[in-house]
Amino acid sequence: MDTFRLTTHPILPVEDKNKVTFYWENKPLKAVKGEKIASALFANGIKIFGHHEKDNSAQGIFCANGQCSKCTVIANGVPVKSCMTAVKENMIVMPAEGLPELPDVEKEPVLEDIESIKTDVLIIGGGPAGLSASLQIAENNIKSIILDDKEKLGGKLVLQTHKFFGSVEDSYAGTRGIEIGELLANKVNENSNIDVWTESTAIFVFKDKKVGVFSKGKYKIIEPKVILNAAGAREKFLRFPGNTLAGIYGAGAFQTLVNRDLIKASERLFIVGGGNVGLIAGYHALQAGIEVVGLIEAMPKCGGYKVHADKLKRFGVPIYTSHTIVSANGEESVDSVTIGQIDDKFNLIPGTEKSFKCDTILIAVGLESVKEFTDEAEKAGMNIFSAGDAEAIAEASSAMFNGKIVGLKIAKFLGAEINDVPESWYEKAQILKKHPGEISKLEYPKDEKGIMPIINCIQEIPCNPCSTVCPVNAIQMQGDPITGKPVYTGGCIGCGLCVVTCPGLAITLSDYRKDADNPIVKIPYEIGNIIVNIGDKVDCVDIDGNFIDKFEVVNIEKNKKKLTQIVSVKADKENVKKIVAFKVQADEISKPLDNPIIPTKMKDDAMVCLCERVTAGEIRKLIKEGIYDLNQIKAITRAGMGPCGAKTCDNLIKQIFREEGISTIVDNTRRPLYVEVPLGVLAGKEGGENE
């Protein structure tokens, strides 16, 4: 039955939902009404959705975003993307085994003319950048249409259960992504100047300055004066033997399943990539009660914020830097992962391999901007702007601020009588985009009386809510008001607001007031699946997750608004300031197998084009023959000709060129459509994925 659902979550409300019956391979199963087929299948423990016609490899979830077709199933006879198609009562869902059959139809379809709509601004993408921009544009009485391919506005904000970085003033820092998403979406939905099109995907910007849109099962054409590309980013993939097994996908897909659909997508997770995306996905997994076996990063240190990495380490998730993934192992699905240490030239050091049991491997090795709308609009000679990740990869806080700037620019471009974007906004945009800076030494306040915050935040990052929420201004930013280092300047009243607000869970309170010899440390906690009770002895750890000692929990408070618990632990004088958290995940979970599994497959057996099943070796052979035109590689191998349209393999092929020392290459020609659309829809028939 559908047992792979979250039953509790520290942040997300888990409600009892209406269930419907659907059939998988003729067996009745339960689904939540309206959820996507992919999620319903995962909830029932089904992760293999069919087998590829070319090599019979297992197919399942990959992008969870409607961009590829790896999750195709046959729903009531029609092949559909299960991640985008809602399950219906009594729907008969069958795996897609090999090539699907095109179903017969009873009657001739009724075709309507394709509707053509004019607007001032077409905003592609209802995430942080698009929403912020739309509000700025609307404020100047300019009409816009905002497109988003999901049911709800908010983009990736709706998947972010953690509190946001940035500044309170500019980007809702300290508030959770899901709440920010809702806040912005509500404002946009209420605004009469903004026409909201959800479940709507832009499929191409044509040369006649028209944009084709697949909207709620219908094809429409929009003629805008200006396009804003706020379509965000897509995740990069990685080459390694076994990279095509079921259970390997991006962090975005994982967050969609877990945080949007409340599915326990995995029992044991391994993460590749120590940027913020991977680190946060690990944290989200812990919140959902999923064991996180480990995380690897190829560089000597994680690229994400130190507070994110520290948070994971403190909960007991090992982070292996200077490590690479050697292979994913298993028959059809992932059973285990093998990792190994790499030298400064990124070569594997033999003998360092370790294997871990896991059922899912998340690939979080970076993002790339969704540039195609910009490129095509430029080619068509249209007025095009871009904002957020579509313009440059950065945090959502930056996307929101950047969206605001671009929104204003568009309003001005369309004749709104307003001042130029203030110079200070651009400066702030730069600050919010900043990569993490230097790490300084951790210093504690000298006092051993009263109560005071211990701020375990020693890396320059654009984040300042601790200084903003403190009612007595006891925390000041040293240096820049956003990226500076927060410093306690005295006068703490022990309200705990900084503790529950800090997105990095990096602030504790050392409380000497009751018993100066056995002071209490107040720790923020939000892994609700692992319940902590008063009287428990917990494994207290320092900033890096090193074990200090066992101490007793003496009190637990829950801040209703912030949802973060404050766990009070009775420590001792020596350690009270050093304790930052307590470990929640047992060491056994992260124990490697006794003997590493060394893959029998070669490195070049790694799949490069998952759609058309083309290996790295096939590509390398052509490169070695002197081919440098990606179009020719595509013509010969079909790499890039599949449903995803080279969204995954393009990067991977370019990496192989780099490995072969070839820098002059000819790019693939981009063609419509960006996502597949049924012919009937293009003909003016209602229907499509949701038919």
Partner: protein
């Protein structure tokens, strides 16, 4: 080292198989193309249909040879170029079209082509689910077929390299001059000499012809095409709907060796020039006609579309042969959208022209492809 027997201008549907055939016959050949690899202009835009069922001796015999080359390639050389003998069909939905088709069949049969008339019922078995309302039957030529232009041109390309042909990519021919008994071909990157030149420049044939003073009535016009996701095989032949639509002439589609439905439409009026950017009008126009003709196609997902050119001559027949004023300059131009299916056969014919070993049949073929013909005739069912 820059001396060649033949320089072929254009590494496309005609140029590459020609180079293969020339090189196989030990003729020192250089192919020059402006793109970065073979087939990057209109070859890759071809949807892959290959038929011998034309209406004149020339095209029929050249295509018949092409079909032989395509269909035996795998058996001979091992690499799969996606050939399938799926046949061609022209269903008739009115009396007039039925008559036209049946009249043409008489001519085609006189050339010994295997083409027959299928009854409505027979045709519905071949294309299950096609609209039966008003259907009167269809022609069916089972030995026609289809092949992947992408795989075929690369197979020909690698074979031609094996035979010794040379290629210069990313070079634009800017001048052709006579140098004693040779040609001097100047590109933006180099100078090359050859005894003979073959103009196989597709959409750019006119410009190349002008360099030697040969006026060519070849004008490209634009066509858009698209391809679907793959499906288990559900219909047999290429389906050509010859009826005119609101803003289009005929259109045609088939299911290729991968199981994908590929289709293309002829706009009306034609859109002249070279412009390969996609327009928003294509999908609504072609999709409506296809779904009305074949309702079950409504559920198939469309994956990608593209736009290419037919280098058209006034009568739709190619221009192949020596230029009288400069006989060592040979035209292989104006394929009018059939370069892919004519290419392999033409390649061999061009080799015989170069070697002056034309057969009786060749001379007959070349008559219909003659530059000096009266262009007022019209190819039936282009």
């Amino acid at each position: 080292m820059n001396n060649f027997d033949v320089i072929v201008i254009g590494a496309g549907s005609v140029g590459v198989p020609t180079a293969m055939s020339l090189a196989e016959n030990k003729i020192k050949t250089l192919v020059i193309d402006i793109n970065s690899s073979p087939g990057q202009d209109n070859n890759k835009k071809a949807i892959g249909g290959v038929r011998a069922t034309h209406s004149d001796f020339g095209k029929i015999s050249v295509s018949q040879r092409s079909i032989e080359i395509f269909s035996t390639w795998k058996e001979k050389f091992g690499d799969d170029i996606g050939w399938i003998s799926n046949g061609y069909s022209y269903p008739a939905y009115n009396e007039e079209d039925e008559k036209k088709l049946k009249d043409l069949m008489k001519i085609q049969k006189s050339f010994n082509l295997d083409i027959k008339w299928l009854s409505k019922e027979e045709y519905l078995e071949l294309v299950p689910g096609i609209n039966s309302k008003g259907l009167r039957g269809s022609t069916y030529s089972q030995y026609d077929g289809s092949c992947s232009p992408l795989l075929a041109i690369n197979a020909f390309y690698f074979k031609s390299l094996e035979y010794g042909a040379q290629y210069k990519f990313e070079e634009r021919v800017i001048d052709i001059a006579k140098a004693n008994d040779k040609f001097l071909v100047t590109t933006n990157k180099g100078k090359y000499y050859s005894k003979q030149i073959i103009n196989a420049a597709g959409g750019y044939a006119k410009e190349i012809g002008e360099m030697v003073g040969c006026k060519l009535p070849v004008n490209p016009d634009n066509h858009e095409a698209a391809i679907s996701e793959p499906m288990k095989r559900f219909f047999g032949p290429m389906v050509v709907d010859m009826r005119p639509g609101k803003d289009s002439k005929n259109y045609y589609f088939y299911q290729n060796s991968e199981g994908q439905v590929v289709f293309c439409i002829t706009p009306d009026p034609s859109i002249e020039g070279i412009d390969s950017d996609s327009t928003s009008g294509f999908f609504p126009s072609v999709a409506k006609r296809m779904v009305e003709l074949y309702p079950k196609l409504a559920a198939i997902k469309i994956r990608r579309s593209w736009r290419g050119q037919y280098p058209m001559t006034p009568d739709g027949f190619p221009i192949v042969g020596r230029f009288k004023a400069i006989p060592n300059y040979i035209n292989a131009v104006g394929m009018s959208g059939q370069g892919f299916m004519l290419g392999p056969g033409l390649g061999e014919l061009l080799t015989r022209i170069v070697m002056n070993t034309e057969t009786e049949n060749d001379l007959r073929t070349l008559k219909s492809f003659d530059l000096y013909r009266d262009f007022s005739g019209m190819e039936a069912f282009k």
